[in-house]
Symmetry: C2
Subunit: 303 residues, 2 copies
Amino acid sequence: MNKPDWIGAEIDEARLRIWAMAGPTPVHAAETTLGGATPAATASTLGQAVIEALGTRLPGDRTLPVVACGLAPARGAAGFRPVPCTPLGDTLRPAPLRDLRLSLHLVPGLSQAQPTDAMLGAETRIAGFLARNPGWDGVLCLPGAQSRWVHLSAGEVVSFQTFLTGALTALLEGHSILRDSVSGWEDAAFVDGVRAGMERPERLAARLFTLHAEALIQGQPPAGGRARLSGLLIGAELAAAKPYWLGQRVAVLGAPSLAEQYARALADLAVPTSTCDDTEMTLAGLARARALIAPGPAPGTAH
Amino acid sequence: MNKPDWIGAEIDEARLRIWAMAGPTPVHAAETTLGGATPAATASTLGQAVIEALGTRLPGDRTLPVVACGLAPARGAAGFRPVPCTPLGDTLRPAPLRDLRLSLHLVPGLSQAQPTDAMLGAETRIAGFLARNPGWDGVLCLPGAQSRWVHLSAGEVVSFQTFLTGALTALLEGHSILRDSVSGWEDAAFVDGVRAGMERPERLAARLFTLHAEALIQGQPPAGGRARLSGLLIGAELAAAKPYWLGQRVAVLGAPSLAEQYARALADLAVPTSTCDDTEMTLAGLARARALIAPGPAPGTAH
């Protein structure tokens, strides 16, 4: 196995993902949390988590760079680059770290003034997609806890819009009265939900309760309830994101099962799509970011 | 203090409320939970909770009737009466209880076939409202974790529609990334949210994220964020409930602060409203239901 020469990290609300990288190739992957990661998490918390996750895999004789994207430590307005701009820019932001085994470099997020919007992590996936598809112009859809629609042109993010769709779906499935009412996947229920959500998005809160009422009265969850719930929420998003997808070809970057839902919904609107795995794009983007680190002390001279 | 001669109870997802009643007057109130009340909670669980809550306030020499509405034990299709119908009907459903100190009588919920809908508890508040406002025809709005719009005519519930608005708002405020981004109440932000939610309900998930993006970029929560969040969700509901309120006078039955939000939003639409406290209506409705209990053994003969 190749020795790692740098480390990639992605932090979101749910988890911290860490990859020990040898050039462009991950040689070890780990997943942990920062204990409820927030933008206020400190650099040393992140450094400690990386050391705990990789332990003896770290070389003892030199400093490895950690390239981190997402909810990285000590954000604020300074942590964002305003669009239109390239997804990565020219420099990373070094963050102070006491441990000599690591140096920490943060990928800035992107911000948008009107309508106010922000991304922390998606810019890296977008950079990875562009690295794999040079010269690609068009629309990206990045579903997840937050889903983003991104207009790319000439290598720049021109505009984007973020929806809380995935987080809402998860809250309703896991923490609302619907938790016992929605289960089961049926493709027809999903497509029906998407159409209903697009056509009458104002009825969302009523249609959600309908799923519960059916379970109450019939004594069992309605067939395909989870598919319908997801469809209703994605449908409303698609109605709002129409300026992004109308007449376009859309590349969907996401976890395979969720990306498939968006591709299915877009197919119903006769929008051609391609899908690709978001982890692969994150790694490609982190590798691109790693190339931006200014040359430091030569290996072996850090101590 | 008058001795209680019956007990009223209301069970919802969050709590079990119990009142020791002397005729129409509450002489003691208690609040507890059924440990995650579900329609499957048993009658004996409810009986036990009442006994724990009232203890020595129960007379030792006779059986007190408990009139319970809401998520009462052992529901299912049999626990609902289909609309159109009066809110209470002619009989309660007795539930078996081993403890001789109590007899348990359940208020049936109401169901609607098209669109599928159900209420468990609201029918009692509606009955209370009608008891206080005999002959009242028109529209009721009952906000809460679930908000309901009800068309009343000639003493009957003609149709109704339930929205998950309040529960969604609470989930977003308490359990989403917005928990640190929304705080503060500003009336202007609320009205602005209502208008935005009504006009473009499909943008809900995007506008929710905007609140978070503002907090991320500015480093502090946007002014009146909680008011805007609530307004966005109520606005979408009002767009969908338009057939209920358009050209009508609306009575809003709810907890005072929430009822006030709905009244404020409806005032912005030039819809005249009156508000009344939902606990008062629940008690009036339970008293009405208590009168339906078939005469049982005379007091003192239960043992």
